[in-house]
């Protein structure tokens, strides 16, 4: 998203619409990322419920992938997983 000049933004930092977080990519904040062990995961979706950034994508009540544009790497998904299927790995060690 191209950054706008001061004349072209609403005053006072007001965000004049709902749902704009989708445009704000917070993935760059991440120092650690969740790694899902699909063999262990039973799709209880507690991680989906707890994720503060709605960054756990699902289809038909099953996890498909993480949303890397918005996942900040906070680790909550890993903490709440009752069977230890999500571990946090250092972002720098991840091979793209």
């Amino acid at each position: 998203m191209a950054l706008k000049g001061w004349r072209d933004i609403p005053i006072g930092g007001v965000v004049p619409a709902g749902g704009t977080a989708v445009e704000y990519k917070t993935g760059g904040w991440r120092s650690h990322r969740p790694e899902l062990d699909r063999a262990k995961c039973n799709n209880c979706l507690l991680c989906w419920l707890y994720c503060p950034d709605c960054s756990i994508n699902t289809k038909d009540a099953k996890i498909t992938e993480f949303d890397w544009e918005h996942c900040k790497g906070c680790g909550i998904c890993s903490e709440v997983c009752p069977i230890g299927a999500i571990k946090m790995v250092e972002e720098a060690l991840v091979e793209e």
Partner: protein, 405 residues
């Protein structure tokens, strides 16, 4: 004292009252009928709160009055109410505003047109409840418009104009208007208030561009803005302040057509042919005006430049008003410790320098902690100015009036 209009030009006949500054501001609040008033009592502002709370208890206003636990909470409640689209007002003084300091910046940074009825009082320590301007000077860079009133009438007039200034779409900034503690806040004077319906039509209705309580247009107030946008929002605030320099006199003109009392950024008195002049704010300006009259009778070309609008600072207008003067004394009722002079002086001296005016200028500190500001003090300042005009020697630049050595 004000530029007078003929009686046929004045649109509304005022109602004569005998009130002190605190009570007349409470009257103005009643007539403005704010949606929310969040306030915490503190001397010498308490009388505003107690008087207004009687209006609330008697059902004379529709205001939701929030008796908060602190001034920090008072300003925070005003911020929430204003973001929701309400007209929000508060009143405080001294340590009360010092406690608001953090959230003063949130109000201005969020561009919320909150009105603060302010009473000037010294800051501790030592503990002192009487007038000086240390408290409002602490907020001079907080992004609030600051108007200084000279007397009870101006406290009322500024209170009502503050709302219009704050809500002007080109401005959208919070406004504090001040009155000197006890000197004005507890000094009963004859003044005129407007009929209720005149105030109502003057202030109109507030139609905020954004409101938290409009479900058809969801908005968020107070988000984070980091390296990418924070700077741009601060630049916008500068623009709001700059535009206020145009809006404040426009509203002052409109108010003048209504009442016969016209307001600008400054109020020059005998300045056109003055050779020496005093620059003052608040009640001290009234004392200085009397001294100017006395000196004029003695054939001395003395003048007074009263600053009504201190933030935004009308640098250009001040430079124009002081152009060609032989010597000028700037009165400060506060100390900016460690600075090379005190707040009003620093601003005036900068305005002279940036407008390439070589006017000899002195800085007088007076009236701290309610110390009386007397005609003889201004007389002393004018005598010093005449000496400076003769000799060209300004040292020491910072001087004190009414201080025991």
């Amino acid at each position: 004292m004000k530029p007078s209009l003929t009686s046929t030009e004045i649109q509304v006949k005022g109602i004569a009252v005998a009130l002190d500054g605190a009570k007349i501001v409470a009257q103005a609040m009643k007539q403005m009928n704010p949606d929310v008033v969040a306030v915490y009592p503190i001397t010498p502002q308490t009388e505003i709160v107690t008087t207004f709370s009687e209006f609330v208890a008697n059902g004379e206003v529709d205001t939701e009055m929030i008796n908060v636990e602190s001034e920090h909470a008072a300003m925070s409640a005003c911020i929430g109410a204003s973001a929701a689209g309400a007209r929000a007002q508060t009143a405080t003084t001294s340590a009360g505003m010092a406690f608001m300091w953090e959230v003063l910046y949130v109000a201005s940074g969020t561009r919320l047109p909150i009105v603060m009825h302010f009473v000037n009082r010294a800051l501790s320590a030592p503990l002192n409840i009487h007038c000086d301007h240390s408290d409002s000077m602490g907020a001079r860079d907080a992004g609030w418009i600051q108007l200084f009133g000279e007397n009870v009438q101006e406290a009322y007039d500024n209170a009502i104009q503050s709302l219009r200034i704050a809500e002007h779409p080109d401005v959208m900034l919070p406004v504090m208007h001040t009155q000197d503690g006890f000197v004005i806040s507890h000094g009963i004077e004859r003044a005129e208030i407007l009929p209720d319906e005149t105030v109502r039509s003057f202030i109109g209705t507030f139609n905020p561009q954004y409101s938290l309580l409009d479900p058809s247009k969801p908005t968020m107030f107070g988000p984070v803005a980091l390296q990418d946008y924070y700077f741009e929002f601060k630049r916008q605030q500068v623009e709001g302040m700059d535009r206020a320099l145009e809006v404040i006199p426009q509203i002052g003109e409109e108010y003048g057509r209504l009442t016969g009392r016209k307001y600008g950024l400054l109020e020059p008195y005998q300045m056109d042919d003055a050779e020496v002049a005093v620059v003052a704010m608040g009640s001290a300006a009234g004392t200085a005006r009397g001294v100017v009259d006395t000196l004029r009778e003695q054939g001395i070309a003395a003048g007074l430049l009263k600053i009504r609008c201190y933030r935004p600072f009308p640098a250009q207008a001040i430079a124009e008003a002081l152009r060609g003067k032989k010597a000028v004394a700037v009165i400060d009722r506060a100390i900016a410790f460690g600075s090379q002079g005190n707040p009003v002086f620093l601003d005036v001296a900068s305005a002279l320098y940036t407008h390439r005016l070589d006017v000899k200028v002195l800085n007088y500190v007076c009236g701290l902690g309610g110390r009386e500001v007397l005609p003889r003090h201004f007389d002393q300042a004018f005598q010093d100015l005449l000496e400076v005009a003769r000799s060209g020697e300004t040292s020491p630049v910072v001087r004190y009036l009414g201080l025991r050595e």
